[in-house]
């Protein structure tokens, strides 16, 4: 309807007429681009501004108060931040979160990439396999946690039975503070394999087949094709997976909440877990907001480094 009219009525991209001065032509073209930018960005910009950005600003305001949600807010300035920066719990929850990312990301990326490459080939029943590997992504964490608590049950779980059979040590998994996070990582990587696979599969699909053909004519081995064609051309998708996995990884919560509840003895408590507890169980919403802004600063810094560094390895068309 409306968009069709725009197509007809606005020959926006016609090249500037030669009689215009170069400067004003450039300005006009810039204005026109600005107009197009508004057109393309407003439909997402307005809702994001209203329903995410405004609440973000509110939460920054809350972070300067003491507030238990059920009574009036008390102004405390930066006291929440000061308290968090000196509280050893803050360092612990950030440490656990980083540990989670360090364990989770390589597993899920390597696994997801291998799966995507394999399931991109002509295999009988690959539609079925793609669906099978995606099912855990859509299964609720409540169910997944139950299954993994059994698999990793220290006394009679399947994993420890296999380890016992191989004469390997059998850890206490989620009941042992030093292994609780490992249990969360295993379950999360398993569940999210399909997520990474789907994104990388879509990326693989956009790689022109001619490039492989050309490489084959040049006698490139499968490994060489993978290194020189697949990886570089997949790098925009990989970049997306890295940035999103880090942003999401820093906000890991659901799996910790249902698998270990942050325990035992707080050994697997993560930043957002702490934020949730502070807000909804402990009536310290101001402190929770402050903590989320510390988290924001960390994620922002990490993402900025990613975006800076992308020039070195991300190849756009």
């Amino acid at each position: 309807m409306a968009s069709d009219q725009i197509v007809r009525d606005r020959p926006a991209a016609t090249p500037p007429r030669p009689q215009d001065g170069r400067r004003s032509a450039r300005r006009r073209s810039r204005l026109r681009t600005a107009g197009w930018a508004m057109f393309f960005l407003l439909p997402s910009g307005v809702p994001l501004l209203l329903f995410t950005f405004v609440p973000m600003v509110s939460s920054a305001w809350v972070s300067l108060h003491e507030w238990n949600l059920i009574s009036e807010m008390q102004w405390v300035g930066f006291a929440n931040y000061a308290h968090l920066l000196t509280d050893p719990t803050t360092r612990e929850v950030f440490g656990h979160t980083v540990l989670y990312i360090v364990g989770y990301f390589p597993l899920v990326y390597a696994g997801g990439l291998a799966l995507a490459v394999v399931l991109n080939r002509r295999l009988a029943g690959r539609t079925f396999f793609r669906a099978a590997y995606f099912l855990p992504v859509v299964t609720s964490w409540v169910v997944v946690a139950l299954v993994w608590q059994w698999l990793l049950n220290p006394s009679n779980g399947l994993v420890n039975q296999i380890l016992g059979f191989l004469n390997l040590p059998q850890p206490g998994w989620w009941t042992d503070p030093s292994w609780a996070m490992a249990s969360v990582i295993l379950a999360s990587a398993w569940k999210d394999l399909g997520f990474v696979m789907v994104i990388l599969l879509a990326g693989l699909q956009t790689i022109p087949q001619e490039l492989y053909e050309a490489a084959r004519i040049d006698g490139a081995s499968a490994w060489q094709q993978f290194r020189r064609v697949t990886l570089p051309l997949l790098s925009p998708s990989t970049f997306f997976v890295v940035v999103i996995s880090l942003i999401n990884g820093f906000q890991v919560f659901d799996q910790v909440y249902v698998m270990t509840g942050g325990g035992p003895a707080g050994s697997s408590q993560v930043v957002v877990g702490q934020i949730y507890e502070l807000t909804f169980r402990y009536g310290r919403a101001g402190e929770a907001s402050a903590l989320s802004w510390l988290l924001f600063a960390v994620i922002l810094a990490v993402t900025a480094v990613q975006i800076r560094g992308q020039r070195k390895w991300v190849h756009y068309a």
Partner: protein, 315 residues
């Protein structure tokens, strides 16, 4: 990667490790062998062994991935729905009682319809708002682009857990609580989808839209007729993720919905957990009901991810 697929192993004169550039005078037989692999006939015997191993690996992995779902189904048709004794795939006296209980105790049709409607609306909105913004970021040069993109990404960096209360207060002031609009509004646009599509669009060769520009096409036309068809796999991917995140969202619906008529699936399923005890067969039946629609959406999107190939013009 399986070593068996290396042309060097079957073609004398090409040693493995030769860089792509040096083997220019490759005999055509190699090419035929490569193209024959896809059809499955004429492949060398060693490749068959590799293929068997591959199938074994993929099949075994697939079973491990499928197991929890199968177990969910099995528990949902097991009478009594007891969780003890560990996961089992054997059913004695299968029964649909749990599903009957589920549909008797909850207005399931209404609930599923609510969830489905909101998920579809949110997905469509995200496809439109997301692909438009992605085009803006990938193809337009305007001042402050990087800052604006950073602000978009920033919306992903504050956890929902602290945004829920301010957002709820905001909705209360706007008198929008307990409405479909409030349920939908926060998921009309997502920086996740914009970023995903922007990355896909950046992979599209610029020569294509430059050609269109010379033909006098506007940005809107290039967006709709050149870029969108080329990023169909990414659009299909976003469809799956947008649908899924709306379908599974819990915290926001929990606080914003009051009327039973607006209840969504995760809210409905959460009421099956009692304060002291839970009937797990009913919970698992609910779980099956909630997984199937996303699985169907995924299968549907899958075909488009593959179909996307036919339209790229690359082949």
């Amino acid at each position: 990667m399986p070593e068996t697929t290396t042309p060097g192993t079957t073609t004398p004169g090409t040693t493995p490790g030769t860089t792509a550039g040096t083997a220019a005078g490759q005999p055509p037989t190699v090419r035929r062998r490569w193209s024959a692999r896809g059809g499955g006939d004429g492949a060398p015997p060693r490749a068959d062994v590799g293929r068997v191993l591959l199938y074994l690996g993929v099949g075994l992995g697939g079973l491990i991935m499928l197991f929890p779902f199968l177990w969910t189904v099995v528990t949902s048709i097991t009478p009594g729905g007891n969780l003890s004794g560990g996961p089992s795939l054997i059913v004695e006296d299968p029964t649909m009682d749990a599903y009957r209980t589920l549909f008797d105790t909850l207005p399931m049709w209404r609930i599923v319809l609510n969830s489905f409607g909101i998920a579809v609306a949110s997905t469509l909105c995200q496809l439109v708002t997301g692909s438009m913004a992605a085009y803006g970021f990938a193809r337009l040069q305007f001042r402050g682009k990087n800052v604006i993109f950073a602000l978009y990404l920033a919306t992903l960096m504050v956890p929902l857990q602290v945004l829920v209360v301010p957002l709820f207060i905001q909705m209360t002031r706007l008198n929008l609580n307990d409405t479909y609009f409030a349920l939908l509004a926060p998921s009309v646009a997502s920086a996740f989808g914009i970023f995903l599509l922007k990355q896909a669009m950046e992979s599209v060769p610029r020569e294509l839209d430059e050609a269109a520009t010379i033909d006098g096409a506007s940005h809107l036309r290039i967006y709709a007729t050149v870029i969108l068809p080329l990023v169909r796999p990414a659009l299909a991917t976003l469809t799956v993720f947008a649908f899924m995140s709306s379908w599974n969202s819990f915290l926001w619906p929990l606080v914003v919905v009051r009327s039973p008529e607006l209840m969504t699936l995760p809210l409905g399923l959460s009421t099956l957990h009692g304060q002291f005890t839970t009937e797990w067969n009913v919970v698992m039946a609910g779980s099956v009901v909630s997984i199937l629609p996303i699985a169907i959406v995924y299968m549907f999107a899958q075909r488009h991810i593959i179909a996307g190939m036919a339209h790229t013009g690359f082949k």
